[in-house]
Amino acid sequence: MKTVKDVCRHVRSKNAGPYWVTFDLFFDGPENFAKYSQSPALGADLMHRLFGASPDQVKRFAVPSLNVVKISYARTSPQGGEIERDMHCGQQFARLLDVQLD
């Protein structure tokens, strides 16, 4: 049973403008990228479960030249608003690390 942190050399999160959050999963090589880049475990449902994102506001891209999977979702609360805890969303990646891929 592999988790995201087992097969990625780096995982990061960042705001992409004020309304979107984006994750970059840098897989540790082409083998794990090929095996997991289309994994249903990294689908819109995951963003909904972990972040309350609306599944139809989730984008996902595979970038084979970099062994990267990019996932983005529309924020559910305004950047910098009354309940903000992570303005740049730079710590949101932590919740992805233990996601089980198979």
């Binding site: 992409a16 004020p18 309304y19 609306s54 891209f61 990267v68 910098g80 009354e82 740049h88």
Partner: protein, 461 residues
């Protein structure tokens, strides 16, 4: 300008973040035709647009401008700055203008300065909206007049055209209001006939300066060199290098789509871009495509909302630490009750949150059962209310409860670690972006005002 590659120094990721004089000198020696940098973005939130305030301090911005204006004047090449003063509103731009004039006097130079204003008049935007010329971007919906009225300042992100016009009219220095980072850097090359795909992609890759290099902590700037078949990028610091991965990976940064970037007047598509090392420091990029589209400008509007007052305590009591979630919930309920009773209806519809730093402050989620207790936590109290006075009254009402809330009733009341006195800190307003829309224009200059300051003429007068 002689035919051949168009060379542009991008000295830093953002004006005021630390341009390096030696790097700029090196870029000039390598044949730079222009210096271009942005000076801000939306990244740090809505306060800078709502307040017309810079994020970078005045001293840092002046320091960078001094380096860049001196280099530009000595080499006889233009200095192009976009999104002045962090947010690119009129106040942000005027703040930057005053520093530029001060630096020009100190350096004894007399540049022609073009100021490109892109803050928008609400009445014009309402008319545009009524005419169906404003459309929403996900996740927001259609715009209404009340939202326009709610904004303190609204800017429209410019494309390269106002910069190209100012360069054509002889600007030595251009200070832009809100502009896409990419357009600021691409403008000079586009004016001089560079292919659009290469010019826009070069702008995107270099927007954060040396961040597209292998070592992000070595040096500040990059040189881009745009020719008919693509562009090259290399760091200006001699102990750094670019490689195909470092350059291509920059397309991931702060974008929700790694292949397609929507800009005013088109889309940059890098799906088929090829990244090739030229030498051990330089990467060449080919295959970038520009797809023209009807011209749109992205709108950004910011407004101040309600007010917050903070308090902070540190807790090392092991009885609390092994029952943190229970402590959080019982204390929060106690604080709400206390605030309602003490302040009464005049507090309005207030909100209190407790953020347990060291436990779950960032996510607010309950950690999995069995998560070991930390050695200490910091608890941040945040009261939000319609006025600063109400938020502070709520904090003051909660002070003793926050200080002494027990985990067990059978022991004497604890006292947690307040860090300062007075314990409550007025944080001011909460600032939010209100718009995520584009306005459709027939002419890229339609919503832009250009103002000239000619220091040469001012001296002669």
């Amino acid at each position: 300008m002689s035919p051949g590659p168009i060379n542009i120094i991008v000295p830093t990721g953002s004006l005021g973040s630390g341009a390096v004089e030696e790097e700029v000198r090196l870029g000039v020696a390598r044949g730079a035709h222009a210096i271009a940098t942005d000076a801000g973005s939306t990244d740090s939130g809505a306060a800078y647009l709502a307040l017309g305030m810079s994020k970078n301090n005045r001293g840092s911005v002046k320091r960078d401008l001094t380096i860049l204006m001196r280099a530009g004047a000595e080499a006889g090449i233009p200095l192009i700055v976009g999104t002045s003063g962090q947010a690119g509103g009129d106040k942000n731009l005027d703040w930057t203008r005053d520093i530029v004039i001060e630096v020009a006097r100190e350096l004894g130079i007399s540049p022609r300065i073009a100021l490109l204003y892109s803050e928008q008049d609400k009445a014009i935007l309402k008319a545009k909206n009524a005419a169906g010329k404003i459309t929403p971007l996900a996740p927001l919906g259609a715009l209404d007049d009340a939202t326009i009225d709610a904004c303190d300042h609204i800017v429209a992100a410019m494309g390269p055209e106002p910069y190209m016009a100012a360069l054509r009219d002889g600007a030595d220095i251009i200070l832009g209001g809100r502009t896409t980072d990419t357009a600021v850097i691409a403008s000079f090359a586009l004016l001089h006939g560079a292919p659009e795909g290469a010019a826009w992609h070069a702008g995107k890759v270099s927007e954060c300066g040396a961040q597209c290099a292998v070592y992000r902590n070595r040096g500040s700037g990059v040189l881009i060199s745009i020719s008919q078949d693509g562009f090259e990028v290399s760091p200006l610091s001699t102990d750094n290098r670019c490689d195909p991965d470092s350059v291509s990976a920059h397309m991931l940064y702060e974008n929700s789509d790694p292949f397609r970037l929507v800009e005013p007047g088109g889309v940059l598509d890098v799906t088929d871009a090829v990244y090739t090392p030229v030498d051990d420091r330089t990467v060449k990029v080919t295959g970038s495509v520009w797809e023209p589209r009807p011209y749109t400008m992205k709108l950004e509007g910011a407004a101040g909302g309600r007010f917050q007052t903070l308090m902070l305590i540190g807790i090392q009591d092991p009885d609390v630490l092994c029952r943190i979630d229970e402590f959080h919930d019982s204390m929060l309920a106690g604080l709400y009750e206390r605030a309602r009773k003490s302040v009464g209806p005049e507090a309005g519809d207030f909100h209190i949150s407790l953020r347990m730093y060291g436990w779950n402050a960032v996510s607010g989620d309950k950690p999995p059962a069995g998560t070991p207790a930390p050695r200490e936590i910091g608890v941040l109290f945040v009261a939000t209310a319609d006025t600063q006075e109400a938020a502070t009254q709520i904090a003051k009402a909660c002070n003793a409860y926050f200080f002494h809330w027990p985990i067990s009733m059978d022991k004497e009341l604890p006292s947690y670690g307040f860090a300062f006195t007075p314990a409550d800190v007025e944080r001011g307003q909460v600032y939010e972006f209100k718009l995520n829309h584009v306005v459709h224009v027939d002419d890229p200059m339609e919503l832009v005002r250009t103002v000239w300051i000619d220091l040469r003429a001012a001296e002669a007068a």
